[in-house]
């Protein structure tokens, strides 16, 4: 059994860093969260660097269960970047809440490791392991503020519903195994392509069940009900990480999985596409329309993230190279802009879930002009207004959808974009056009300032310098 060690360096690095070395360090080091923080930060940076270095080295390893290079390494870099930015923002946040424990960083890195497995998976079981690792870590992180009832509620809700969804996932996997005789993506794809016109019913049911489970993970209708409560209850930096990197990981898995399940020749494919298109359309509308009514900013951002999952599903529906490139670009821009928005919320938040109402942002431009500016950039980028990064991602997905004949879906997306502009602008109105009320001590960002600078800069310039990204993405599919 030949293992490609060079290609799997990023995976090896994070697993060793997390497992062998990390836990050993934590076993012997007491009361030195700074060391642990620095160590895990270094691990993530090293992993990202290794992922970049080995990205040209394409292939499979571990008996074809892990893919290497290309897409998977790109997503590794995205996950590690999100992890680093979250860690930088998490440290001041947790210190302020009084719960800074080393274990948080361990959990964050283990979640990243799970995500990387999801991105590298070429086998349904590996996918399952990755999803479970990421999800269970998220369940724990969501409840990290142990004495806060909302946090505990979020954790329990996420765990119960997530476990249920994982049940769907495994059941779907078993049915697909039964229908195709293999757990490997490429083998499944070949079997489906060969039986293009008379695919086994078992396979169809399995595919639908897997779509259900993945839709839960990305919080798409009608499996999105958990998201607002979980996102609101979790510590804000955890929400930041979950809603961005978690969703990115779920989509990387979704893409790889459905490339395997929906080859072009199969007659099941158009039906699956239509099903996903309907889910996408309703998700976009439900997410954006419900967000309009929100008064709590975390819930508003949660519903907006549901809507963005809807937009991203358009890429899966189009099932084309353009669609998948669009997803890759959109996910990248989304990770940065949504993370930045939640980090701003986290900086302004105070103990006991206070200062989380939209009304608390009144006059922010006068009090904290830099924070307001960043938030305005994120809002405009999320709304898809040029020249910010969010627009370019949306454009690519629209092109892909219209190309494959889903113009109606694009029109739904456009309408829901207008709806979304209302509440994104609403926050800008609150920050810039209304007077501040009451006295507050100024917010300190600390290390989170680095996160804000990076995410704001990326949201502004990613679109303008999209060319190299797009060229790379096109070459993968």
């Amino acid at each position: 059994m030949h293992i490609d060690y060079f290609g799997s360096l990023p995976l090896i690095a994070i697993w060793l860093g997390l497992g062998a070395i990390g836990i050993t360090i934590q076993a012997f080091v007491r009361n030195n969260t700074r060391l642990v923080f620095g160590y895990y930060l270094g691990t993530l940076l090293l992993t990202a660097a290794l992922a970049l270095i080995t990205s040209g080295h394409k292939g499979t390893t571990f008996q074809d269960m892990i893919t290497l290079g290309g897409v998977a390494n790109y997503f590794d870099v995205v996950f590690c970047a999100a992890g680093v930015l979250t860690m930088l923002a998490a440290r001041p946040y947790l210190q302020r809440e009084g719960v800074e424990l080393d274990e948080f960083y361990t959990l964050l890195v283990s979640a990243t490791a799970g995500m990387m497995l999801m991105a590298h998976a070429n086998n349904l079981l590996v996918l399952f392991v990755g999803i479970e690792l990421m999800s269970i870590t998220f369940y724990v992180m969501a409840g990290f503020l142990r004495t806060n009832i909302r946090s505990v509620e979020a954790s329990l809700k996420y765990f119960l519903l997530g476990a249920f969804a994982s049940g769907f996932l495994v059941y779907g996997m078993s049915l697909i195994y039964g229908a195709t005789g293999s757990l490997q993506y490429n083998v499944i794809r070949d079997v489906v392509a060969q039986n293009a016109t008379n695919f086994p019913t078992l396979f169809a049911i399995g595919a639908v069940l897997m779509a259900v489970a993945m839709s839960f993970k990305i919080a798409a209708f009608p499996f999105h009900q958990w998201a607002p409560d979980v996102y609101e209850g979790s510590p804000t930096v955890v929400t930041a990480f979950m809603s961005t990197a978690g969703k990115a990981a779920a989509f990387s898995a979704f893409v790889a999985l459905f490339i395997a399940l929906m080859p072009g020749t199969s007659t099941l494919t158009p039906q699956l596409q239509l099903m996903l298109a309907v889910v996408s359309a309703i998700t976009m509308l439900v997410g954006n329309i419900t967000a309009v009514a929100q008064t709590n900013i975390k819930r508003m951002l949660a519903y907006s993230s549901i809507a963005h999952a809807g937009y991203l599903l358009m890429g899966i529906v189009s099932n084309s190279a353009d669609g998948y490139s669009g997803i890759a670009f959109y996910v990248t821009s989304y990770v940065f802009m949504q993370l930045g928005a939640f980090v701003v919320v986290g900086i302004l938040e105070r103990q006991n879930n206070s200062l989380l109402e939209i009304n608390d942002y009144a006059g922010l431009a006068k009090r904290e002009p830099m924070l307001a500016f960043s938030m305005a950039v994120f809002m405009l980028s999320l709304a898809g207004i040029p020249p910010f990064a969010g627009f370019f991602g949306k454009y690519l997905l629209f092109v892909a959808a219209i190309e494959t004949g889903y113009t109606w879906l694009t029109i739904v997306a456009v309408v829901s974009s207008v709806v979304s502009a209302y509440f994104y602008l609403g926050l800008i109105v609150k920050m810039y056009f209304t007077e501040p009320s009451g006295e507050r001590e100024p917010a300190t960002a600390g290390l989170a300032g680095i996160t804000l600078v990076v995410t704001t800069a990326v949201s502004i310039v990613l679109g303008l310098f999209a060319s190299p990204f797009l060229a790379t993405f096109k070459s993968w599919w």
Binding site: S325, I385, P387, V399, L425, V429, Y432
Partner: protein, 516 residues
């Protein structure tokens, strides 16, 4: 040299806004001076476009074609022809004047204001210069952000409502236009076999050959976006709020330039790319235009707020422009183009005059004024000039545009009905009614109100704002040919194009009669 001037005109405002970021926000005078200097330099740079411009050619000149996002065929493609040249010059002329007028009136967050204004100039110039649909869209949307903030932060009492309404209304139209841009690019890409394209030159070649049903949808999607901007009745309801609530400089820019983006888009995209659908929809749109002319005038007549009166007069005047465009005659479209410039100048000047009155008395109600001429005689002269230009008095610029658009509508083979021109001509009379009546109530009569007794006449800054506009108003009125010869060839090319393509598809539409 021309290309360099083009790039300079486009990017100088952006450079200016970035330069302003480095000046500390407490140094208001330095900020305002820098912004003004950049806008004046941009104006001078734009005048350099004139000497090298070949008025005999209808093609895009001073073109720039640099790759940007090759995988979606979006590039930095710029160029101007006669129509866009006039509009770019209008933009660069109005912006310094807008900066001058906000010099004294904008006192809070001066840095942000000037940065946003320069970004707005960058966006507007980009819209006029873009020859790439993706780039056009980026600039089109880009304008919304600064305008939204300018109305929302430095505006009047109901500014938030007006700003959100403006933003969302325009966004609806432009997002549908985005779908149309993608669809159009894919359709033409399929025709040429080169995949998706945003290159306007390629689209111009192949778009008229798109199937009529598809062309109709594309035409409507583009038209919706542009007609909201124009604004055409009944899509005009955002305009009175936005105009009244915006600060004076904002209103000047809105009326002077922003509304022209819509009419420019109609000529550049709807007529050029979808001639068959344009002829098909010419009559309904012209009907709405005529309704807008009369309705705008009637509503303006009953206004008590001078700014709102001028805002509704914009609806009325731009009805003439739309009527001229959809008459599909050389006279009509030429009239529309020059009327775009004229409206920018005269309505811009009217807003400046209203702003001058507001600076002194902080009210825009007609009832609060009366007999102002006795205390501000020089102001009265310039205000009267702007007012008469808006009415369309022969000798001033408004007459040229109105006459040509009415002539075009009268002789239009596409509209084929003289009633359009006849009914619209009555709109000219209504314009005289509401403007003269307003002027009489504000400026003439007895100066009864004690607060009006000691108003000071025009300041030096206000002279610099009003006189350049006045000069152009008289110049265009007396010698319009100096300006119209720029756009003549391009307009003729558009008309010929419409004639060629609709002549071909004779089974769908009646053949247009001989074009003049």
């Amino acid at each position: 040299m021309g290309t360099a001037a083009l790039l300079a005109t486009l990017f100088a405002p952006l450079a200016g806004s970035l330069a302003l970021l480095f000046i500390h926000k407490d140094q208001a005078k330095a900020i305002k001076t820098t912004a003004l200097v950049f806008s004046v330099l941009t104006f001078l740079g734009s005048t350099l476009l004139v000497p090298g411009f070949d008025a005999g050619s209808a093609a895009m000149q001073f073109t720039v074609d640099m790759p940007w996002l090759t995988s979606i065929d979006a590039g930095l493609r710029l160029g101007i022809d006669g129509t866009s040249l006039l509009l770019v010059l209008l933009t660069t002329l109005i912006m310094p004047i807008a900066f001058l007028t906000s010099w004294g009136s904008v006192t809070k967050s001066v840095k942000e204001y000037n940065v946003l204004m320069l970004l707005l100039q960058f966006g507007m110039t980009g819209v006029f210069m873009a020859t790439d649909t993706f780039l056009f869209y980026v600039f089109w949307e880009l304008i919304l952000i600064p305008m939204y903030f300018i109305i929302g932060i430095w505006g009047g009492k109901d500014r938030i409502y007006a700003a959100i309404k403006f933003f969302l209304y325009t966004l609806v139209g432009s997002l549908l236009m985005l779908v149309a841009i993608i669809w159009l690019g894919l359709e033409v890409g399929a025709m040429t076999g080169n995949g998706f394209t945003a290159n306007l030159a390629v689209l111009r070649e192949h778009a008229p050959m798109i199937a009529p049903q598809v062309q109709t949808w594309l035409f409507l999607a583009f038209a919706l976006s542009f007609l909201i901007k124009v604004p055409l009745f009944p899509l005009h309801t955002w305009l009175p709020d936005a105009h009244v609530q915006a600060p004076t400089a904002g209103s000047v820019i809105l009326a002077g330039v922003l509304l022209k983006l819509g009419t420019y888009g109609l000529i550049r995209f709807n007529l050029d790319l979808f001639p068959v659908a344009s002829v098909q929809f010419a009559t309904p749109i012209s009907v709405l235009a005529v309704v807008g002319i009369i309705y705008g005038a009637l509503v303006a007549m009953v206004q008590t707020d001078i700014k709102k009166l001028v805002a509704y007069s914009s609806v009325s005047h731009l009805g003439f422009v739309v009527l001229g465009i959809f008459s599909m005659t050389t006279e009509g479209i030429q009239g529309a183009v020059i009327q775009m410039v004229n409206h920018g100048l005269s309505t811009g000047m009217l807003f400046l005059c209203v702003g001058a009155l507001y600076e002194r008395r902080h009210t825009r109600e007609i009832a609060d004024y009366g007999g102002i001429t006795s205390v501000m005689p020089r102001f009265a002269v310039l205000f009267a000039l702007a007012m008469f230009a808006s009415v369309g008095l022969p000798g001033l610029n408004g007459f040229v545009g109105e006459f040509l658009t009415l002539l075009g509508a009268f002789t239009s083979p596409v509209l084929n009905n003289q009633m359009f021109a006849i009914v619209s001509a009555s709109g000219v009379i209504f314009a005289a009614v509401y403007l003269l009546w307003m002027f009489q109530r504000v400026m003439f009569g007895t100066n009864d109100n004690p607060e009006n007794k000691h108003l000071r006449d025009l300041t030096a800054s206000e002279y610099w704002q009003l006189v350049p506009l006045a000069v152009f108003i008289i110049w265009i009125g007396v010698a319009p040919r100096h300006f119209m010869h720029f756009s003549e060839t391009s307009v003729k090319a558009v008309v010929e194009r419409v004639g060629t393509f609709t002549g071909k598809v004779s089974s769908v539409l009646p053949l247009p009669q001989q074009q003049r």
